[in-house]
């Protein structure tokens, strides 16, 4: 039976990250885009924890802590934004949000 090494976790992390990034690139539902971002963050977290375990160092876990906090903040602001935009545009289609157009 092969030993589960750090590589396995990294691979899983990369796969999840890729799926998340595809979600960001392909979906137009702003909420789902956000969820995808969350997933990307989670994949990074997974990698961190795996590294922490691998290196026998707590710093990785501490960093996960911060990431979660940032993610929470981001979700809060992001969702508030979405709600606000939905109020004015009656839509959360991310392609209709083009105020940044040059």
């Amino acid at each position: 039976m092969p030993e589960v090494t750090i590589d396995w976790y990294i691979a899983l992390s990369v796969i999840l990250f890729t799926i998340g990034s595809l979600g960001v690139l392909l979906r137009r539902n702003a909420i789902i885009v956000f969820m995808s971002v969350e997933m990307m963050l989670n994949s990074a977290n997974l990698a961190f924890v795996a590294f922490a375990r691998h290196l026998g160092d707590l710093d990785g876990q501490v960093l996960v802590f911060f990431v979660i906090t940032v993610a929470a903040a981001e979700v809060a602001v992001g969702l508030a934004l979405i709600v606000a935009i939905f109020r004015t545009k009656k839509s959360i289609n991310i392609d209709e949000m083009n105020l940044l157009k040059g």
Binding site: L25, L26, V33, I94, N98, L99, K101, G102
Partner: protein, 744 residues
């Protein structure tokens, strides 16, 4: 008898007066004018009288304790341990300060009572008495302080009160619509500040030289350092003690010229007459203006040391001599200007300046006792004269009112005078008042004769002491002062005649009425003092008397001399005795006294002759106007100089600096035009060049590329979030690729 510990009450009483009138006095007056005024005025007067009682107790204490100077601490005012700077707030009770306290509170109380009558009916009655009590408070701080700094607190404080009281009727305007009372008050304050500037500099120098501001400590250190010929050193500065002392005393002189209205700073005092008359009497004749003399007398040790240091100022003159000359010239100049005045109070104002010049000259000559003697007697008779003039003005205003009330059924007023603004202080509108206001006339006569130096009134003795001293020690000063004394007699004669003799020249004068008892009683008391004031320091009439009593200069003979000796001679104890304090002549000098009496009588008589029937009407020119050179003094002196050469350039400079330099140049031009606009134009310049480059490049095909590129780039700015995300990932992947490339 030991009442030293009561000394703080001296300040407490007037402070209570301030609080009473300042906080609740107004309500009293508003509630019931008649009762309120009585409460407000009498309360303030009682507080002044209370202080007077304390001063008397202190006087008795000194008598009982062998004139021992005493320092009564109140609080620790400023203390900065690391700078070694300690200023306690303490009262110095010695013969000199008690003399001043007695004058201030004694004359002050009388004027308070007078003012109750004079200010009757003024809507701001209680405000007036608030200021009055405040003035007494500060004046007592001035004379009672045991350090120069506390003296300075009073010094500035009385300046403030002077400002407030001069501009008491701040809404009065003159014909040109200028707020003249407010202007006069402001002028007084500012000119005084010029003097204060000298005072504070002197104090700084003194502190660093002697490490103290306390009178006793300063004098002792100064004498000690002087005897040892020390060089004063502080910081990197060093100078011989003589120079430092000269500088300190010269700066004190500047202070004294401000407060005591001497050349060149006397200009504020005549304007100060815009204030209510009791103010002129109390502040601008009897007390505040004498604080300069008090300062010099108090610092007599320093002045005498400066005299010993020799002619340090430009190598020609020592400070005490300078003081004497300043005093003498002021005495003469102001005497000459007084000839040309028509305002009854302005004549007195210039007369005050002139008399203050006498005192300053006496102090400068070293005749400190004579200076104080004249200060005291002058307080009596000048207060009397001012209050008398106030009584005259009051009477004239009364007459004027009377006239107004009866215009319809009475034909006294001729139309001309009715329309012209009536000035109750103009002597040309008076005349013949001796019948209308007999009490005022008699007391005024006493005052005028005392001022002119007619024996045996108070003024004669004190002025004669100064003149005798001048005759002995400084002949130039004597001559100048003698001429000034003649002037004094002449303008007083002129004033007497124009006011009280002849015929009324205005309807108001015909209807003038005697002032109420409340006002005349203080006048009578003061007149009594002006008559017997000479007893304070009566010289021995013959050499034999002097020798017989030489060691006991007390009793009625030379009482003040013996009394003040305990404050003024203090430093004479110096071992080598190199410092000699010139004393007041002990024996009456018949020659000097005879000459001045003769001249005074002649001048009075001359004035009565010149003005015997002139001016006939209010519009007539003054007989002296024919004497062109004399009449120039009306316009020529320092006032004109300041108004022409100091004030307009200052205004111009201020405007130029404020609007041209600071605003237009520095604010607008440098900051807005140079810095900001240059930045903006630099940016525009860059943009233009870039633009031009682009336009030129179009020709070469570069432009179109740029444009296309720009358009292309612009197209990437779709505004679609997902496109941007794609960009981010592109970047991420590129980075990844780069790492891979690095790895392999």
């Amino acid at each position: 008898m030991n009442a030293y510990s009561l000394a703080p009450l001296l300040l407490l009483f007037p402070a209570i007066g301030v609080l009473f009138n300042g906080l609740i006095g107004r309500r009293f007056v508003e509630a019931d004018a008649k009762v309120g005024e009585r409460w407000s005025g009498w309360f303030a007067s009682l507080m002044a009288i209370g202080s007077f009682v304390i001063a008397v107790l202190l006087f008795l204490s000194l008598q009982a304790n062998e004139f021992q100077a005493m320092i009564v601490p109140i609080i620790d005012w400023i203390s900065i341990p690391s700078a070694n700077f300690y200023i306690p707030w303490a009262i110095r009770v010695d013969t000199l300060s008690v003399t001043m306290m007695l004058v201030v509170t004694g004359v002050g109380s009388l004027i308070h009572i007078y003012a109750i009558g004079y200010m009757h009916g003024d809507p701001n009655f209680s405000r007036f008495f608030t200021y009055f009590s405040l003035f007494i408070f500060f004046m007592l701080i001035l004379v009672s302080g045991s350090t120069y700094l506390v003296l300075f607190v009073g010094w500035e404080g009385v300046g403030l009160c002077s400002f407030l009281l001069i501009s008491f009727w701040f809404d009065r305007t003159n014909a040109a619509g200028k707020a003249m009372n407010a202007d006069a008050g402001r002028k007084a304050f500012i000119v005084n500040r010029v003097g204060d500037f000298g005072m504070i500099l002197a104090m700084f120098l003194m502190f660093w030289a002697f490490r103290s501001l306390e009178f006793g400590a300063v004098f002792n250190t100064a004498v000690e350092m002087f005897e040892q010929g020390h060089v004063v050193e502080f910081g990197l500065f060093s100078a011989p003690i003589g120079t430092v002392l000269t500088a300190i005393t010269a700066l004190f002189l500047l202070g004294a010229t401000g407060k005591s209205a001497q050349i060149p700073l006397y200009v504020w005092l005549p304007d100060a007459m815009a204030g209510p008359t009791p103010v002129s009497a109390l502040i601008h004749a009897a007390t505040m203006v004498t604080s300069g003399i008090y300062l010099i007398v108090r610092s007599n040790v320093l002045f005498e040391l400066a005299r010993e240091s020799g002619p340090v100022i430009f190598g020609v003159i020592s400070t005490p001599d300078l003081v004497a000359y300043v005093g003498a010239f002021t005495g003469l100049l102001a005497g000459l200007i007084a000839f040309t005045q028509f305002d009854i109070k302005k004549v007195l104002a210039y007369s005050t300046v002139s008399q203050l010049g006498f005192m300053i000259a006496a102090a400068g000559m070293g005749a400190y006792v004579a200076a104080m003697f004249h200060l005291v007697t002058h307080a009596f008779f000048k207060a009397l004269l001012f209050l008398g003039s106030g009584s005259v003005i009051h009477g004239m205003e009364h007459g004027h009112h009377h006239l107004h009330e009866h215009t319809h059924d009475d034909h006294h007023g001729d139309g001309h005078h009715e329309e012209a603004p009536f000035d109750p202080q103009d002597m040309r509108t008076m005349g013949g008042l001796r019948h209308k206001m007999p009490t005022t006339f008699w007391v005024y006569l006493v005052g005028a004769l005392a001022l002119s130096g007619i024996p045996p009134l108070a003024g004669f003795w004190s002025k004669d002491e100064i003149l005798a001293h001048g005759n002995e020690h400084a002949l130039v000063v004597y001559v100048i002062l003698a001429i000034a004394a003649v002037c004094t007699a002449f303008y007083m004669g002129r004033q007497l005649h124009m006011t009280f003799f002849g015929e009324p020249r205005h309807a108001a004068a015909e209807h003038a009425q005697e002032s109420p008892r409340l006002m005349t009683t203080p006048l009578i008391v003061l007149a009594g003092l002006a008559i017997v004031g000479g007893l304070l320091n009566l010289p021995y009439l013959t050499q034999a008397m002097a020798e017989a009593n030489h060691n006991h200069p007390a009793g009625i003979f030379l009482g003040l001399e013996g009394w003040l000796e305990h404050s003024i001679k203090s430093f004479e104890l110096s071992e080598e005795g190199i410092l000699h304090l010139p004393h007041t002549p002990i024996v009456l000098s018949p020659v000097v006294a005879g000459i001045s009496t003769l001249l005074a009588v002649l001048a009075l008589g001359g004035a009565f002759y010149v003005y015997r029937n002139k001016p006939e009407t209010a519009a007539d020119p003054d007989p002296l106007q024919k004497l062109k050179p004399l009449w120039w003094f009306r316009i020529l002196p320092f006032e004109t100089f300041y108004m022409k050469f100091i004030v307009p350039p200052f205004n111009w400079l201020a405007n130029w600096l404020a609007f041209a330099v600071d605003w237009n140049f520095w604010h607008d031009f440098v900051h807005n035009n140079l810095i900001r606009d240059m930045f903006v134009s630099f940016a525009t310049f860059l943009a233009d060049v870039f633009d031009k480059f682009g336009v030129d490049g179009t020709v070469n095909g570069i432009g179109s590329v740029t444009k296309g590129l720009a358009g292309g780039i612009r197209r990437t700015q779709t505004g679609f979030a997902r496109t941007y995300a794609l960009g981010v990932f592109l970047g991420a992947v590129a980075l990844l690729a780069y790492f891979l490339w690095v790895l392999y």
